[in-house]
Symmetry: C2
Subunit: 235 residues, 2 copies
């Protein structure tokens, strides 16, 4: 049986062996949810940047630039980190360069993997099918919040571990714990996550609609992966 593990923070990723694995990067509030929403809504491709200034420079190359730090749009950026901003199809065919507080850093630390996928609740089932069609071990890389464990990324990890249980064994304690936690609270994700520190942080920014979107399951059939050029594309 294949294996699935969970890493709770980019600061722990060096403890894991990424080679040959599918790494699923997760930053539910909101980077990876936004990436999935943008690509599902017609954005052509996304280049993720860990560095804010490198991302900003892409504007001159014809890219739409999305930048977020600490939950707010970075000064001078056209887009922040809101998934719902893409839903009306205003950005069909655009190329997006994007940098966020946690999510894009986690992608950068996942590059040794055989394949890097972008995980979000709105395309959970599609991601599960894509993984199950391959014979690879999986590592779920939670972006967390500035190195800290966070609830929403970990619960997505639990949902993914649970969805993979017919093909992938929880070979590691983080996967076991989160799968069990998702069993307990998965029927009321939004209620439980309203206690989470980052949801509170976002509520303060008045983006209730973003939170609702990020916790909605299986809106899209697309899978998002990092291609050989380092661009995020849908498959």
């Amino acid at each position: 049986m294949r294996k699935v593990e969970v890493c709770f923070s980019p600061e722990l990723i060096h403890l894991f062996d990424l080679e040959g694995k599918i790494v699923v990067v997760v930053d539910i509030f909101r980077a990876t949810s936004t990436m999935v929403a943008a690509l599902a809504s017609g954005v052509e491709e996304i280049i993720p940047f860990a560095d804010l200034e490198a991302c900003r420079l892409m504007q001159d190359k014809g890219f739409l630039i999305g930048g977020e730090r600490n939950g707010l749009t970075a000064p001078g950026f056209e887009m922040g980190n809101s998934p719902v901003a893409y839903l009306d199809g205003s950005y069909v065919g655009c190329k997006l360069a994007m940098t966020t507080t946690n999510g894009t850093q986690a992608i950068e630390k996942s590059l040794k993997a055989e394949e890097v996928l972008i995980g979000a609740f709105p395309n959970l089932k599609a991601t599960v099918s894509h993984i199950q069609a391959q014979s690879k071990d999986v590592l779920i890389h939670c972006a967390g919040w500035k190195g800290h464990f966070n609830l929403e990324d970990s619960l997505y990890a639990g949902a993914l571990v649970k969805s993979l249980e017919s093909t992938h064994e929880s070979s590691e304690d983080g996967a076991l714990a989160m799968s069990m936690l998702f069993e307990k609270v998965g029927h009321n994700l939004k209620g439980f996550l309203s206690q989470a520190s980052h949801a509170k942080r976002l509520q303060n920014h008045g983006i209730e609609r973003d939170i609702d979107f990020c916790l909605t399951l299986d809106l899209y059939e697309i899978v998002v992966k990092l291609d050989d050029r380092g661009f995020l594309v849908k498959v």
Copy 2:
């Protein structure tokens, strides 16, 4: 209301502010369980060492030396890391120098705290009473396994968070998650933990009795703390 947080790995402890807090160091399998068992069974005091060789040198100073690496007694050490070895009272009045793979390293990284306690299931209730008699925030520092999250330390954290809920608010996602997980699996700790990676590692070493002991609640009334000299003593 006071606050309680959980840190899942010594590799993340730098993200937390320890000053003014009670830090509870936890290494259920087996360092902190052994420390509690030894002191409850008459050992007078314990000096924890992160370094194996520094610990070994204490033998010449009249200390009993306990050393464990990767679950096994370190070569040349009198004691390994088994709590049940102390239970028959053979070491009453002894001074013990002790080093383990994870637990003693976590203690060393907790020294900035206002007070360092040693947590284990056999003295959970006593530790709760001791904490609740003070007006300090609490940080539970899980020793983990070589930097990794582990199930048994995290579930102890969940049990402690839950026991403190009348006085200490879960101000952080790790505390919320583990308190909820303990609610789900706490009635069957041993069954659930038998899946944990470190329990499997220990079962391979044939120490079922140790595991039973480490998961037994409230055998002792003692609290174990680090005193001003850096010695672990009972209070």
